[in-house]
């Protein structure tokens, strides 16, 4: 290290941890060479710290009015949460990142629907189809399996509905894509190569690289999923759903849903940015962003987050939702179809909750008590009037 002008260059890299082992030793030798060098280094380090603090100071975005909203809104939410928590009997409050998107209703008609005896409707279970990068399909259920992808990534399904990815010894050069498809009446959990956990709901699918390569971690979702994203500030985690992109900044946020022609993201805590085509909109906790696909508009509003995320903990929670939307959600898990004999009841707004492993008729009985709707179960079809 001789030329004076190269010193600052190397010192900055040294202080930022960008030097390799040899360069670091070189800097350390230079510093130890003389008292003058040592003083120069200490002085430079202090100055560098000031630069960093100055940049950080300018990057602070929080203002009291924004913070105050969070403060007051949180109080409101806590109160309501307590009510719900009482109902849910020990429902663990969600930590981590969640995001859910409901698939557009594609008008599928279940083929063998009417053949089953109607005594009780069975809830869904652990079920999924894995599409490997070579096009091979593997059905996953309640047995353990081990697989290896072309890039050396190891896949292990544990038989309890969790599929684990572990990167191979060598870093992969190109991304190799997998797709996990969860049918109606199924659910599955994924642990991706970066440590991110994903809960996939019934009738949903996720496309993702077996190992993440490059500057970002991008996955493509159809349906509904809850994400608990591992923090890595150098590689943003991006969820793409029907053209809406949700970019993960913080570590603790949550969920979104979709009715026909809409995609929603709901944030519990932390920070995410939602974008559709152009501008990115930052969400504050307890806010829901809804994209209308027809015109690409994004609408942000305050919501109570719990009903959006409870499914992940095995609970259906409905809060002032239309009966039509409720039946659609129940249909995905219990594999039932609703037939509305009376169009008017579709719009009735109802609240209620049910553990997902229970008989759905408990919920119907509850709805009959609190509304004019009447339910009769015939095979896999529920007639509502």
């Amino acid at each position: 290290m001789n030329a004076k002008e190269h010193i600052d260059d190397k010192l900055i890299r040294y202080l930022l941890g960008e030097c390799d082992a040899e360069e670091s030793r070189e800097v350390e030798r230079w510093v130890a060479e003389s008292a003058k060098n040592r003083r120069y280094f200490e002085d430079f380090r202090r100055f560098h710290l000031q630069v960093r603090e100055a940049v950080q100071w300018e990057a602070v975005r929080g203002t009291y009015p924004n913070f105050r909203r969070r403060l007051l809104q949180l109080r409101g939410r806590r109160k309501r949460l307590r009510v719900f928590a009482g109902m849910a009997a020990g429902l663990a409050l969600l930590v981590g990142i969640g995001l859910a998107v409901f698939l557009k209703d594609n008008g599928k008609v279940p083929a063998e629907a009417e053949l089953l005896a109607a005594e009780s409707i069975q809830p869904g279970g652990v079920r999924a189809t894995l599409h490997l990068s070579n096009g091979e399909q593997v059905d996953l259920g309640e047995e353990a399996r081990q697989l290896e992808e072309q890039d050396g990534t190891l896949l292990a399904a544990d038989g309890n509905g969790i599929l684990n990815y572990r990167s191979g010894e060598e870093a992969a050069a190109d991304a190799v894509y997998n797709r996990l498809e969860v049918p109606r009446g199924g659910e599955f959990r994924l642990k991706l190569a970066d440590g991110t956990s994903v809960w996939l709901n019934a009738e949903s699918e996720l496309r993702y690289p077996a190992a993440f390569v490059g500057g970002e971690r991008r996955v493509v979702l159809k349906g509904e999923a809850y994400f608990q994203v591992e923090t890595d500030s150098t590689k943003p985690f991006i969820v793409e759903a029907e053209g809406m992109e949700t970019r993960v900044y913080g570590t603790e946020f949550n969920v979104c849903t979709q009715q026909e022609g809409r995609v929603q993201a709901v944030l519990v805590s932390g920070r995410v940015g939602v974008g559709y085509g152009g501008e990115e909109t930052l969400l504050a906790p307890s806010q829901k962003a809804e994209v209308t696909l027809a015109d690409g508009s994004i609408n942000v509003q305050e919501v109570d987050v719990l009903p959006y995320v409870a499914w992940k903990d095995g609970i259906f929670m409905f809060h002032d939702e239309s009966l039509e939307a409720i039946m659609e959600k129940l249909g995905r898990w219990y594999n039932i179809d609703a037939f509305f004999a009376n169009e008017e009841v579709k719009g009735i707004r109802l609240s209620g909750m049910l553990e997902r492993h229970k008989d759905v008729r408990e919920l119907f009985r509850h709805f009959e008590k609190i509304s004019v709707a009447r339910f009769s179960v015939q095979g896999n079809t529920v007639v509502v009037q």
Partner: protein, 193 residues
């Protein structure tokens, strides 16, 4: 003019929201930058400080604060919360910043405000590209490589832009620094008990 610690503690003891506002105005930014020094990420630092303030507001401990120890309580708590959070992050990338984690809050608290203001002004005067590089590296803790990818330039360009920016700030602040040193000696002798 910022409210005194006595005022803040008295208002918070009465659970008066005005106390929260004063606390925020006086301590939010310094605490965020303090936490960012540990986390190497401003947004995460903001989360840590906001969660901490909310906890103070919602729990009894916020009503029992003492004016004499408020400052040390705030800095120590935020530091511990930031370190907790740091543990969950990649330890390798941040190992370079141990000196930052070892700094005491008193050292941080008596940092040279006037100098920082001057450095901020110099940064504001830099070309946008240089500021973008500095934001990635200092506010988000990105590596040269990640910064290059984010901004669509080469790693060498990132290096050049950063080095030139830092050198320019240093050069422009050096005259100011000499004056400041005299001023600071005076101030330091006054604050020593």
């Amino acid at each position: 003019m910022a409210a005194s610690d006595q005022t803040i503690c008295a208002l918070l003891a009465a659970h008066d929201e005005k106390g929260m506002e004063h606390l925020f105005d006086k301590y939010y930014k310094p605490l965020v930058v303090w936490a960012a020094g540990i986390l190497n990420h401003v947004m995460q630092a903001e989360d840590v400080v906001q969660d901490f303030f909310i906890r103070l507001w919602e729990r009894q401990e916020g009503r029992a604060l003492q004016a004499e120890t408020l400052r040390s309580f705030l800095y120590t708590s935020v530091r511990n919360l930031a370190l907790d959070r740091l543990e969950k992050k990649d330890p390798l990338r941040h190992a370079a910043d141990v000196s930052q984690c070892e700094r005491t809050w008193e050292e941080y608290d008596t940092r040279e405000e006037e100098m920082l203001a001057r450095v901020r002004a110099e940064i504001a005067a830099l070309p946008e590209r240089s500021r973008a590089v500095m934001d990635c590296i200092y506010a988000e803790g990105l590596s040269y490589k990640a910064t290059a990818e984010r901004l669509g330039v080469s790693v060498a360009t990132v290096n050049t832009l950063l080095v030139n920016a830092v050198k320019k700030i240093r050069k422009n602040c050096s005259g100011f620094r000499a004056e400041l040193l005299v001023f600071l000696r005076v101030r330091r002798t006054k604050t020593v008990k």
